[in-house]
Symmetry: C2
Subunit: 277 residues, 2 copies
């Protein structure tokens, strides 16, 4: 039996969807089809959406779950007229917050709030370009401007993490791959010269060698690069270097990019330059 | 008078922070200092956090707002013992949802839910690498694999948007800059040959010429590239091309990257390959 959940907003839908997915993730044994409907900002769009809600109701044989952050009263009234089960975020929490803060919210006066551009925009874009320019050890002469330098073997998650840090938090993250070029005579990995003076900015990522081999196989099948022996050796040497050089590091194997990023921030105490809206 | 708001979670803190910022954005005239505290997953961390809450209370002279998604009972109890004003997301909404879905949630059985890695991970990473490989018109031979090709003048937001689409939605977005190289004899912009056969995948971004000049000035001050005349002309020709070739487009001037991305998806009906957690 499937239920449909609608995440409805007059804006991006990010808040309704984030909260909705988080709530529904607690019901692991229920089959829920999730649909996000952003920019429902007119009575026409609301009326069309109610039709989609009723149609899901008829198909599923159960009323849909509705999680919304609509501000406009006329649009709200139309959605409220549907047969769905409503989880109303704003009306549930804003009333008590208005009392606590002893003021009216823009919601209660019916004003739509756009997240819009603002003065952090440039900072955010600059951070994205910083991550791109300093990806994969391409350049090392801007490391004095980096907030953090992610280090680890090829394909352990450095690039997506550095981009996520830039987009979500405005953090300038360079990343540098540790490879066999950095082995010393005895065959153990040494700290690359370009990183040595920035040791306080380094943050290590490591990964389970089997997972690494699977990821690399997608990219370059049947290569030495993706062989389990090669992956085992690289990971072992990298972790040994992290320990020897006291570089803090986390194992990314079971983590999403969100988790890697937020854990790294929590561990290092790195300041955000920007906050997600 | 400043109030402090704490967004508290035993995970990334993304849900508590997203909802918290969204709720508090409705109180534009109240000065609120927002603090995210992720990974509060032990009684020791909870006890230390309560101290921080009480210290903010003493500093502000008003009790802090607490918005949390803590699952563990012992940790919750400690936080609940603080003097803060609590907005409890899970206990507010999960009870009615349990009744509606006629089942217990993992929350009510005290199970922490990790977002973790899953089978969409590869897809997401591939999309990020696709965006990087196909950034700024660098390559055009993979356009058959693109979900969308963003087009527009240099510095109108194409690169960060394509990366956001990849990270948040697993959408494969290439991007191609329209420049003077694509002017025809009469001085009007023509559709570049490499884009012509993918017209159905094109999505245009445009921007206010004054805003563009300001952004370009940051990058290359005192250049022709950043002059208002140059920006005016490029934007005018680009928008004329969009209209002539029936390329859907949006004006990014007042929009955040989240808004550009979600509006583009809403307008094109482009399917996500991945959903944010």
């Amino acid at each position: 039996m499937t239920r449909t959940a609608f995440f409805i907003s007059d804006g991006t839908g990010i808040t309704a969807e984030t909260l909705g997915r988080s709530l529904l993730a607690q019901f692991e044994n229920t089959d829920i089809r999730m649909v996000t409907k952003p920019y429902i900002d007119s009575t026409e769009k609301a009326t069309a959406l109610v039709k989609a809600i009723e149609s899901a109701h008829a198909n599923d044989g159960e009323r849909p779950i509705i999680i919304d952050t609509i501000v406009d009263d006329d649009v709200r009234d139309i959605i409220s007229g549907s047969s769905g089960f409503k989880v109303d975020i704003f009306s549930t929490f804003l009333k008590p917050l208005e009392e606590e803060l002893d003021t009216h919210s823009s919601y209660s006066v019916g004003k739509t709030h756009s997240i819009g551009q603002d003065d952090v925009y440039m900072n955010r874009i600059d951070s994205v370009h910083f991550a791109l320019d300093n990806d994969d050890g391409a350049r090392t002469h801007q490391y004095d401007k980096a907030d953090v330098i992610l280090v680890g073997v090829s394909r352990c998650g450095k690039t997506p993490t550095s981009l996520y840090l830039a987009l979500q938090f405005g953090i300038r993250a360079a990343n540098y791959p540790l490879t066999e070029d950095d082995l010393d005579e005895s065959g153990s990995l040494k700290m690359p010269a370009s990183l040595a003076q920035y040791r306080h900015k380094l943050f290590g990522l490591t990964i389970d060698p089997r997972r690494l081999a699977a990821i690399r196989t997608e990219r370059r099948p049947n290569s030495r690069y993706c062989s389990i022996d090669q992956c085992l050796q690289e990971v072992e040497q990298t972790e040994a270097l992290f320990r020897r050089s006291k570089v803090p590091f986390i194992d990314t194997t079971r983590f999403s990019i969100e988790e890697i990023s937020t854990r790294m921030i929590a561990e290092t105490g790195l300041a955000r330059r920007f906050s997600p809206r």
